[in-house]
C-alpha cells in the first residue's frame, strides 16, 4: 500500500497550506510557535503510533471473524444485542467492511435491533480506529473516558429499536 492521497488527505493538505499561509502573513513568530507545538505533538505520537500499529496487526491475525452467524437472531433479545455490540466493535476497518458484514448477518437471520447494535458497536468501539488513531493522537485517558461515556450506547440503541419495532408493528 503506497501513499495515494484520497479526498480527506487532499482536504487536510489544503487546510494545512491555508493555515500556513495565514500564519506566515500574520507573522510575529507565529510560524515558529506553530512549529514548536507540532514538534511536541510529534514526540508524543511518534512513540505511540508504531506500537499501536503492531497491536492492531497482531489482533487482526488472531481474531476469529466467522464466528457470529445465527447467534444474534431477533429471538435472542438482549443477549443477542450485547453480543452484536461487542462483535461490531471488533470488526476491523471502515464502512466498506462493516456494512457488507452486517448485510451478511442480516441475510443469515440476524434481528433488526441486533443489527442496529452491531452497527453502533462498530461505530463506538471500533478497535482498529482506537488503536491506530485515538490512542496515539488523544492519549489513553481521553480514549478511556470516551469509551466509558459511550460504551452503553450500542446496547441502548438495540434496546430502543426493539421497543420501537414492537410498538410500530
Amino acid at each position: 500500500m503506497s501513499f495515494a492521497p484520497d479526498l480527506p488527505t487532499i482536504f487536510l493538505m489544503v487546510l494545512a497550506a491555508v493555515l500556513f499561509g495565514v500564519a506566515a502573513v500574520k507573522g510575529e513568530g507565529r510560524l515558529g510557535e506553530a512549529f514548536k507545538a507540532t514538534t511536541k505533538l510529534f514526540r508524543m505520537v511518534g512513540f505511540r503510533l508504531p506500537l499501536a500499529l503492531m497491536l492492531a496487526g497482531f489482533l487482526s491475525q488472531v481474531m476469529p471473524s466467522e464466528l457470529v452467524g445465527g447467534s444474534i437472531g431477533a429471538e435472542t433479545g438482549l443477549s443477542g444485542i450485547v453480543i452484536a455490540s461487542v462483535v461490531g466493535g471488533l470488526v476491523p476497518s471502515g464502512p466498506f467492511v462493516s456494512f457488507p458484514i452486517a448485510l451478511t448477518l442480516f441475510k443469515s437471520g440476524a434481528g433488526i435491533p441486533q443489527l442496529i447494535a452491531f452497527v453502533s458497536g462498530w461505530g463506538i468501539f471500533a478497535l482498529h480506529r482506537v488503536l491506530i488513531y485515538e490512542w496515539p493522537l488523544m492519549g489513553l485517558r481521553f480514549t478511556a473516558l470516551r469509551i466509558a461515556a459511550s460504551g452503553l450506547a450500542p446496547p441502548l440503541t438495540g434496546l430502543l429499536a426493539m421497543a420501537i419495532l414492537e410498538v410500530y408493528h
Binding site: P8, L12, A37, L55, I112, M138, F142, A149, A161
Partner: protein
C-alpha cells in the same frame, strides 16, 4: 521543587501509558505466535510497515494543522462555543458537526486534536466523536440506505440521536466526579 513537580508527573504518566501499550503489544505478539507461528508474526509486521508508510505523511499534515490551529485560533472563540461554559449549545453544535463531518478517522481525529488544542473541552469532543461515529450522514447515504433501506436507516437514526448528548453528559459527570485533569 514545586516548580519541577508538574512536568515530572506529566512525563511519568505519559511513559506509564507507553509501558502499558508496550506490554499489551508484547502479549498480543505472543498470542499471535502461539496461534499462527512465525509466519503470522512476520505477515502482521509486514502489514504494519505498509500501513505506517501510508499513515506517516497523513500524520505529518494532521499534526501540522493541530500546531497551526493552536497558534492561530483564539482560545476564547472555541472556548465560547465548545468550552466549559458552552453547556447545551456546545452539545448541540458538536452533534451537528459530527453528523456533517465526512470521511473516516483520518479526517475526524485530526479535527478533534486541533479543536482540543484550540480550547474545546473533553465532553464536547466526545459528543462530536459519538455523533460522527453513529450519525454520520455521508455513511447513512452511501452505505446504509442502499444496503438496508430507508426504514432501517430511520429507526437507527432515531434511536442513536440521544447518544451523543448522553456521552457528553456522562463525560462531564465523570470528569467532575473523578476530578480529572483533561
Amino acid at each position: 521543587m514545586a516548580d519541577g513537580e508538574m512536568p515530572v508527573r506529566k512525563r511519568s504518566s505519559e511513559s506509564r501509558s507507553l509501558f502499558i501499550l508496550a506490554g499489551i503489544v508484547g502479549a498480543s505478539g505472543l498470542l499471535c505466535y502461539a496461534l499462527k507461528g512465525t509466519e503470522g508474526v512476520v505477515a502482521s509486521l509486514e502489514g504494519d510497515l505498509a500501513l505506517l508508510a501510508a499513515l506517516v505523511p497523513r500524520m505529518i499534515v494532521a499534526l501540522a494543522i493541530a500546531g497551526l490551529v493552536q497558534v492561530l485560533v483564539p482560545k476564547d472563540l472555541v472556548g465560547r462555543w465548545l468550552g466549559d461554559a458552552s453547556g447545551y449549545r456546545g452539545y448541540i453544535l458538536a452533534t451537528a458537526a459530527g453528523m456533517a463531518t465526512p470521511g473516516g478517522p483520518m479526517l475526524s481525529f485530526p479535527l478533534v486534536l486541533a479543536l482540543k488544542a484550540a480550547g474545546a473541552n473533553t465532553p464536547a469532543l466526545i459528543t462530536y466523536l459519538t455523533s460522527w461515529s453513529l450519525l454520520g450522514v455521508h455513511r447513512i447515504v452511501m452505505w446504509e440506505i442502499p444496503l438496508f433501506g430507508t426504514e432501517f436507516a430511520v429507526v437507527r437514526f432515531l434511536v442513536s440521536l440521544p447518544m451523543p448528548f448522553m456521552a457528553g453528559m456522562i463525560t462531564a459527570a465523570l470528569i467532575a466526579r473523578l476530578k480529572l485533569r483533561t
